[in-house]
Symmetry: C2
């Protein structure tokens, strides 16, 4: 006989699974992969803050993936002419990247449709519930990340 908690736990697992297979990142008309879009936005965000570029290690750290992962994604974006690689004047090892004009256009367009998609989601579930969702998911993330640390030790 399941306890109340066990029922909730099962429901959580199930909805987590469903979410895990969700395409909340919409497909790009320009044929970019999801990972590429995310990195593009990451670069855009940083350069909007006034930085001349963003380094592989910074993207890697922000997105919590390894730098070879970022390098491969950047290679794709570079091939598609959406980013350029610069030289860092303080550190010859570093390779800051920034958007090309083409990249900026792509980011702008996808930002708009992205934002539209999410503001509509907020309208769908309500503003207060959306804020609540952010809060709850943040705590879920915190729980599992702390659990992961414990497991490692």
């Amino acid at each position: 006989m399941d306890t109340e908690k066990e029922v909730i736990a099962r429901n959580l697992m199930e909805v987590f699974y469903q979410f895990s297979r969700l395409n909340w990142i919409q497909n790009s008309p320009t044929g970019l992969r999801h990972s590429e879009l995310i990195v593009l936005h990451c670069i855009s965000r940083r350069t909007k803050e006034g930085a001349p570029g963003i380094k592989v290690s910074e993207i890697s750290s922000i997105l919590k993936v390894t730098s070879p992962t970022i390098t491969q994604i950047l290679n794709g974006l570079y091939t598609k002419g959406l980013i350029e690689r610069c030289a860092d004047k303080d550190d010859r090892r570093a390779v800051p990247v920034r958007l090309t004009e083409k990249g900026r256009i792509v980011v702008e367009e996808s930002s708009e449709s992205f934002l539209k998609s999410f503001t509509e989601l907020i309208e769908y579930i309500g503003e207060k519930p959306a804020e609540e969702l952010v809060c709850l998911l943040t705590r879920v993330v915190a729980y599992f990340e702390r659990k992961k640390e414990k497991t490692v030790i």
Copy 2:
């Protein structure tokens, strides 16, 4: 200048990203992949309901992946001795699968630790908030799945 909704939208995107990269399926001591664990549990659930086995198409439908995906996972589980393939007496095409004794043991052990992990999560965020989370995520899933249908047409 960002509107309130845009701020919430950004926060949602960010926490969705973090959540999507979360390992809420814990690693199996027996070296099983996450996908294998999920399929094992799917089989277990159905056979607990009294069915003699579950077909590829049923798993495929429940988990919302294609049948070649399921076949490949089943191949792995079969190799590891965790499932057996049966003959369907009504339809010679169908291949119902069920757990071996070994598979039952694996499912039992992982079910326990799985459930423990999630009941602790529920204790962490609270029972009412956990129920709220199920509800909210379910609506998020519904929103994006409906949005996907629209896009296809």
